[in-house]
């Protein structure tokens, strides 16, 4: 059994009333897990709970063996520093250049010498395909570029666990594929585990080891992607069928996963 990085125990999350109930979930070292489900199914709420932004209504989030919400604020921050989060909206600081945005965690949390920090920023920008853009302002970048810069910032501390909310949504297929490659490279090079919220079926097939599907306020299916695709549960079937159908229609590829789903 590999080391468990994240475990949700009987988690109930939501704002005033529960949105998701009975969430039991483990993420092991080096795993890439996709959280799937239609809009409004509670994926992003769960992500907020896991990343320490929204206390659960009941249950536990166990991060690196410690219960996140039972720790005092400082201990919680200590744990969260070993994770990285790339938000759906890029959440880059508009008053700083891209380079300063990405270097911020290094400047604030480490004692690395400035040249090393600059070299790390250069490396990460190269990895996400934004080489040489250190001095640009976030507002001067396109949406896709900002998303990649946000990914670079989320991974700058080489965290053990990275949460990505829709990392490739709204990007062209080539860039989306390169982000997927980058994520895989992060895993092979640094042993980073990933929790990804996504709708992109191509991306799920390429990178995810496992999928967890949400529907009707709970986990309705989980397993390897092949198991999910082969599932006869109508939620799961609808999801893959519908998404695959759109993919096929837009790209015109006859080998869309949807054709093999049944």
């Amino acid at each position: 059994m590999t080391e468990v990085l994240l475990e949700c125990r009987d988690l109930v999350c939501g704002y005033d009333k529960p949105i998701l109930e009975d969430v039991n979930l483990t993420i092991g070292h080096g795993e890439i897990v996709a959280l799937l489900g239609g809009s409004g199914c509670g994926k992003s709420t769960l992500l907020r709970t896991i990343t320490g932004l929204l206390p659960p209504l009941s249950g536990q989030v166990v991060l690196f063996g410690q219960s996140l919400y039972d720790l005092p604020q400082e201990g919680r921050n200590e744990l969260l520093r070993r994770t990285g989060t790339a938000f759906q909206q890029d959440a880059l600081f508009g008053s700083m250049s891209i380079g300063d945005n990405i270097a911020l965690p290094l400047h604030e949390l480490t004692k690395l010498p400035e040249p090393v920090i600059r070299e790390m920023v250069r490396m990460k920008l190269g990895l996400v395909g934004l080489a040489g853009m250190e001095e640009r302002a976030p507002t001067s970048l396109s949406g896709g570029q900002r998303k990649r810069a946000a990914l670079a910032r989320a991974t700058i501390l080489d965290p053990h666990l990275v949460f990505c909310d829709e990392p490739s949504a709204g990007l062209d297929p080539i860039v989306a594929a390169s982000i997927d490659e980058t994520l895989l490279q992060f895993r092979s090079a640094l042993g980073i585990s990933l929790v990804i919220v996504t709708h992109e079926l191509e991306s799920i097939r390429t990178i995810a080891d496992r999928g967890v599907m949400f529907g009707q306020g709970k986990i309705c299916a989980s397993g390897t992607i092949d198991e999910l695709v082969a599932s006869t549960d109508h939620h799961v079937y609808d999801f893959f069928h519908r998404v695959a159908g759109t993919t096929q229609a837009t790209t015109g590829q006859a080998n869309g996963v949807g054709l093999h789903a049944r």
Binding site: S95, K111, P113, V116, E119, R122, T139, D158, G191
Partner: protein, 373 residues
Amino acid sequence: MSSATTTSIERNGRSAVVRLQGDLIIPTARAFYLQLQSLARRRDVRTVVIDFSRAGRVDSSGVAAVSLVGRMLARHGKTLDLTELGGHHRAAFDMLPRTIEEPAAAIPPTVLEQVGDGVLGTWNGARALTAMIADTLRQGGLVLTRRKRLPAGSVGSQIVEMGFDAVFIVGLLSFLLGITMGFQGVTQLQQFGAGVFVADMISLSMVRELGPLITAIILTGRTGAAIAAELGTMKVRSEIDALATMGINPNRFLILPRLLAITIAGPALTLLSMFIGMLGGMLVASLALDMPVAAYWQRVAERLTIGDFAHGLLKSLVFAWIIAAAGSHLGMRANGDPSSVGQATTRTVVVSIFCIILVDAVFATVVTIARHS
């Protein structure tokens, strides 16, 4: 795997072999980098060899440190060799970009460019302001001629927000101002036995000067800042672009209702401020001078003319338009990032108060000259 790196350096002729032991990660990379940097600077070292056979995890800080030292050595014609790399070490070093693209250095603008930038910025700002005012007035004309409509209920809700909600603060401050002036007036005027003139003094200054001014300052802080912040945030969130793409004129939809509301709320609050200020003066006069209430108001009525009220209310109208124009214009010019909204709000308050006091001085000068010529 230990978390600390211990490095041992062996000298072998002109080459130095660095044996890594433990993880080369963010907490340990600093010491490693400084050690390698000083080694690379030594003249008698031509080749540095890093032996990874006993190294643990290497993260991007370690890769960055090694790559920096490699480049430093290369610049001096020396070489860096990495030996005994494990699979995960290789994967980590694969993260290095193949080509070195130095970030394009930003060339700082010269003084001339800065001045030109400032002039162009002011010119563009003035043009945008004129265009906005012209379009808003045109839209106002269209609304008056019933060819376009204002958003339902917008003017009413704005009047409540700008006017009704400010009644308490305007009233309180005007009352305190009236009391303060009353005390000042009574002490000074009594020395000449002219205490009864305190009614003249307070009524004239509240109606012609202080009523419009204190109201305008409160409106700037409450309403001008709110307009700038609201429109700026809408701009940042692309809501104004959304209106434009729907074919809805943002000036008619957002600015015109605010302009109309402040046109009503500004003078109305000013009128309130004038009377409450005089009320404060009355309190002081009746307490300090034992002046009967009826006598106070009689003096006020004898002293004030319709012209004084017209003067004060006309000024308050101009002040209200200054506030609406500054708030709308600067709010609309926010440009994408959150700090620009803050700047727009600050500038609205500063610019409004500056213009209000400037216009006030111009009014006073023109009226005085006109009266004496």
